[in-house]
């Protein structure tokens, strides 16, 4: 098949970008979308032109590195599918396809289709963990976990941190990403001791990074390759409100405890 691509090209964060048109000829429907870009890039290099930069690594939909806005949709037309797992059979011969990077204030463009998503790492560093120093753990079966809770925690933990939720949100909110982590750890007994602090610090970091707030558009769930539901955002909000309301009290109690 033959396609016409409109690709966002931007030399670096400082330069302005623009769309450039490329012909992708003789593409097999069994190729993945990124293999189609590989072929195009090989041809560009042969002509002495700069290949199109895009992030990718595992190419199995699990590392979260890839991500292209394809015809206006993060990760393209197929639901619950990362860009690397999208195949050319989802397109038709002669199609014109537009490729853009994630667009969000908190995700500045580095080059072409590559953006800087390090804000996500900083949100995790702010509280997306259980403090369990290596070597300190009790027997894994000492605390039984209800299967439903373990399963729900798992569903939330499948987030691959690709950032499609942010790219799709009209407010560029990172709520789905943050909510997934808060739900994952909040559903497990191991996550309870830090549950309130986690909600406060992760939300504070999300705001500090310049992500927008959630106004319930639901676009995030629609593009999430792992199908993380927006319902998790309600859990995050519940934890956050509870944590904010009880913050003063908990600090006071902690103070008394140390004083005593």
């Amino acid at each position: 098949m033959n396609l016409t691509l409109q690709v966002w090209r931007q030399k670096n964060a400082q330069s302005p970008g623009r769309f450039v048109t490329y012909q992708a000829a003789d593409i097999s429907p069994d190729m993945s979308f990124l293999e189609m870009l590989d072929v195009l890039n090989e041809r560009l290099i042969q002509k002495g032109e700069d290949p199109i930069a895009f992030d990718h690594d595992c190419r199995e939909g699990i590392c979260g590195a890839c991500g292209v806005v394809i015809d206006g949709t993060a990760h393209g037309p197929r639901r619950r599918t990362t860009t690397c797992q999208l195949h050319m059979r989802s397109f038709r011969d002669g199609d014109e396809v537009t490729l853009e990077p994630w667009r969000a204030r908190a995700f500045p463009v580095i080059k072409d289709l590559i953006v800087d998503r390090s804000a996500f790492d900083r949100i995790i560093a702010a509280g997306g963990f259980v403090s369990a120093p290596i070597g300190s753990a009790p027997d894994g079966n000492a605390i039984p976990v209800r299967k439903e809770n373990a399963d729900l925690a798992f569903d939330a933990a499948t987030c691959i941190g690709c950032g499609a939720c942010v790219a799709a949100c009209p407010n560029a909110s990172a709520s789905l990403f943050v909510a997934a982590k808060i739900t994952h750890l909040g559903m497990l007994p191991q996550g309870q001791p830090e549950r309130m602090e986690r909600a406060l610090s992760m939300v504070a970091q999300m705001d500090a990074e310049g992500f927008g707030s959630c106004t319930n558009h639901g676009e995030c769930e629609a593009v999430c390759p792992k199908g993380i539901p927006v319902a998790f955002i309600a859990r995050m909000n519940a934890d956050f409100i509870k944590a904010s309301l009880t913050k003063g009290r908990r600090v006071a109690q902690a103070g008394e405890a140390t004083a005593g």
Partner: protein, 637 residues
């Protein structure tokens, strides 16, 4: 080359305890004066960086991806072993040890493997504590399954995404330390050189992949947790960025490379479809718990699978290996698949595929049960092939997957360069000539969480914390070497892309150093690879410049290293005149086509010493001594 394993003497069960007692400790107040460099953020790297930081060391951690969470460990599917015996089915530390030694065809060091089996238990505890959502039963306790090469159920799992969940646990522990300021993280940085001063490691040279800046980072020890080199085959189950650059550069600076020819070809991957394919996708081995492998009984039978009656199918693994059946170890299952395809009984368009059929399991357990266990894998299969595996059997074929070989390390995980430690898949230590399923995750986390924190003290306690001067001649020489090489790669301006060279190298490796090897093939490869390398340095085309994000330049540097490593692999395969584990030399097989090991001649680790460009490397040996197991012929019949 000093190949003293430093494995402690005494009873197998007591070695690790005894060793830990004898290791020198670094005074807690002094720990923060030492800087440890950790290259890699997979299970081994992230786990190691977090635990070293918790102990009080200053840690600098590097990865080439945009986030440490994307290390290739994330892609592991099937599970992680631990000798818990929660199933009451006869497992024990000794059994896990024995299975691993036997699975590796008696080419691994007893003391290391036993330690790994001992530590396996703590790993599961630690992961649970970090919030890893392992599969649970209705009673709330941890669930297990069995995986290739084992007759007990000792594998812990998180659906088909065990690696993801384990890595997120380690990543979160790492991020916690980053937040506390004890680890400095350098994402999108690629290590290109080790700095060795007065015979010991003092730092690394890295390239900032966004700006192209070449920087030095100094430390008191350098840990390499940079993963395996299966991508030397171009098409493999590894992530696109996986590379051998870090270990190869260390090798050229004096680190011995052990058993480079021990590579693992995984039996259950989606078959190759086209010329421009960029990678092969693994279908987790755990599928072999419920899927049955078969091909048509007669060559050339092109009927669709559902039209082939039961008695005209050959469930060849069940037939050839009745006691392990579909769970036969990887090397054995892969070779069996190759054999039936070579006989003309393969399925799919190119005839290089076998069926993995779930019809019986679906009938027995119901579609829902299968969906719960493997849902994500089935979805992945469908996305790639456009076929529904609940209805039509999967088609699979072996692909390059894992490398048992790697930098040689002693019992403390230290390479032959003092101060360079090697963790995880990057070292050679625990899996001998073949790795069993669910054991790489175990080894990565064992090395990172539980071995390096102790082992590194043995070295650091003996050196004073101090940074070498920035203008030390060795530092300047390392930086110059890196800069020169980058500009050479950019300056060739030939005709062929880096990927074109990689693809051609991969074909040579797969053909001559893949599932079956022989003298004349290896000799051919040893002609072809240097010729290809020469062409590479004359005819490579890399566009753009160094001072920018330049992915073609990144690939070119990695391919350049693969072109040297590939040659060493062939050399090693040629020198090892026996068949063992993943290394199958056609000249050394039994009448039934099984591997014929030569314990009198080759019961050793082959360790290669780099000499000079285009000079033959030297082959050294670390003899393997077995005090606790009897060297048996590996049989899974």
């Amino acid at each position: 080359m000093n190949l003293d394993s430093r494995a402690p003497s005494g009873l197998l069960e007591k070695k690790w305890d005894k060793h830990r007692f004898e290791l020198k400790l670094v005074n807690p107040a002094n720990k923060r004066k030492y800087t440890v460099i950790m290259v890699g953020s997979g299970l081994a790297g992230a786990g190691g960086a977090a635990s070293l930081a918790e102990l009080g060391y200053q840690v600098k951690c590097f990865c080439y991806q945009d986030s440490p969470r994307r290390a290739h460990s994330i892609a592991a599917q099937g599970g992680i072993n631990a000798a818990k015996n929660y199933r009451n089915d006869g497992d024990s530390v000794f059994r896990l040890f024995y299975d691993t030694i036997k699975g590796g065809d008696f080419r691994a060091r007893e003391a290391n493997v036993y330690r790994l089996a001992q530590i396996s238990v703590n790993i599961i505890y630690q992961c649970v504590a970090l919030g890893v959502p392992f599969a649970r039963e209705y009673g709330g306790l941890l669930d297990n399954r069995s995986i290739g090469g084992a007759q007990v159920s000792r594998t812990f799992y998180a659906r088909g995404q065990t690696g993801q969940q384990l890595l997120l646990g380690a990543y979160q522990a790492l991020e916690r330390q980053i937040g506390l300021g004890t680890v400095q993280m350098f994402s999108r940085h690629e290590m290109l050189e080790v700095i060795v001063i007065d015979g010991r490691a003092r730092g690394i040279v890295v390239r900032d992949l966004v700006t192209g800046d070449v920087e030095t980072h100094v430390g008191d020890a350098v840990c390499l947790a940079t993963g395996g080199y299966a991508s030397v085959f171009h098409l493999s189950t590894n992530a696109k960025g996986c590379n051998a650059t870090a270990v190869w550069r260390a090798h050229k600076k004096g680190a011995g490379f052990a058993n480079p020819c021990f590579t693992q070809i995984h039996p259950t991957c989606i078959p190759v479809t086209g010329e421009n394919q960029s990678k092969l996708t693994l279908m987790s081995e755990s599928l072999r718990n419920d899927g049955r492998v078969w091909v048509p009984g007669t060559p050339g039978d092109r009927r669709p699978p559902n039209e082939i009656p039961e008695d005209e199918r050959d469930y060849y693994l069940e037939r050839m290996y009745p006691s392990f059946g579909n769970l036969a170890p990887r090397d054995i299952a892969s070779r069996a698949a190759k054999r039936v395809c070579d006989e003309g009984r393969g399925v799919g368009p190119a005839g290089y595929g076998v069926y993995l059929d779930f019809a019986d399991a679906i009938e027995r357990l119901g579609e829902q049960a299968i969906r719960e266990k493997y849902g994500n894998l089935f979805e992945m299969y469908e996305r790639i092939t456009d076929e529904n595996p609940y209805r039509v059997p999967m088609r699979i074929y072996p692909a390059s997957h894992y490398t048992m070989g790697g930098l040689w390390v002693d019992y403390n995980l230290m390479s032959t360069i003092p101060g360079v430690f090697v963790l995880g898949e990057a070292n050679f230590s625990d899996h001998g000539a073949n790795r069993l399923g669910a054991s790489a995750l175990m080894q990565g986390l064992a090395d990172g969480y539980f071995v390096i924190p102790y082992a590194i003290g043995s070295y650091l306690a003996g050196v004073k914390p101090a940074a070498p001067a920035d203008d030390h001649p060795e530092m300047r020489a390392a930086v110059t070497a890196v800069r020169d090489r980058l500009s050479t790669l950019l300056g060739i301006k030939g005709q062929r892309t880096p990927t074109a060279f990689h693809r051609e190298l991969g074909r040579i490796m797969w053909e001559y150093c893949g599932m079956a090897r022989n003298r004349s093939g290896l000799e051919t490869a040893l002609q072809k690879i240097p010729a290809l390398r020469e062409e590479f340095w004359q005819n490579l085309n890399v566009t753009g410049e160094n001072a920018e994000l330049n992915q073609a330049l990144e690939v070119a540097g990695r391919v350049a290293d693969f072109l040297e490593l590939g040659e060493l692999m062939c050399r090693d395969a040629l020198a090892r005149e026996e068949s063992c584990g993943g290394h199958f030399r056609e000249e050394y097989q039994t009448e039934e086509g099984e591997a014929r090991r030569d314990d009198a001649g080759f019961c050793h680790v082959a360790v290669w010493e780099y000499t000079a460009p285009d000079r033959t490397p030297l082959r050294h040996q670390e003899p393997l001594v077995f005090e606790n197991v009897q060297l048996a012929t590996r049989s899974y019949k």
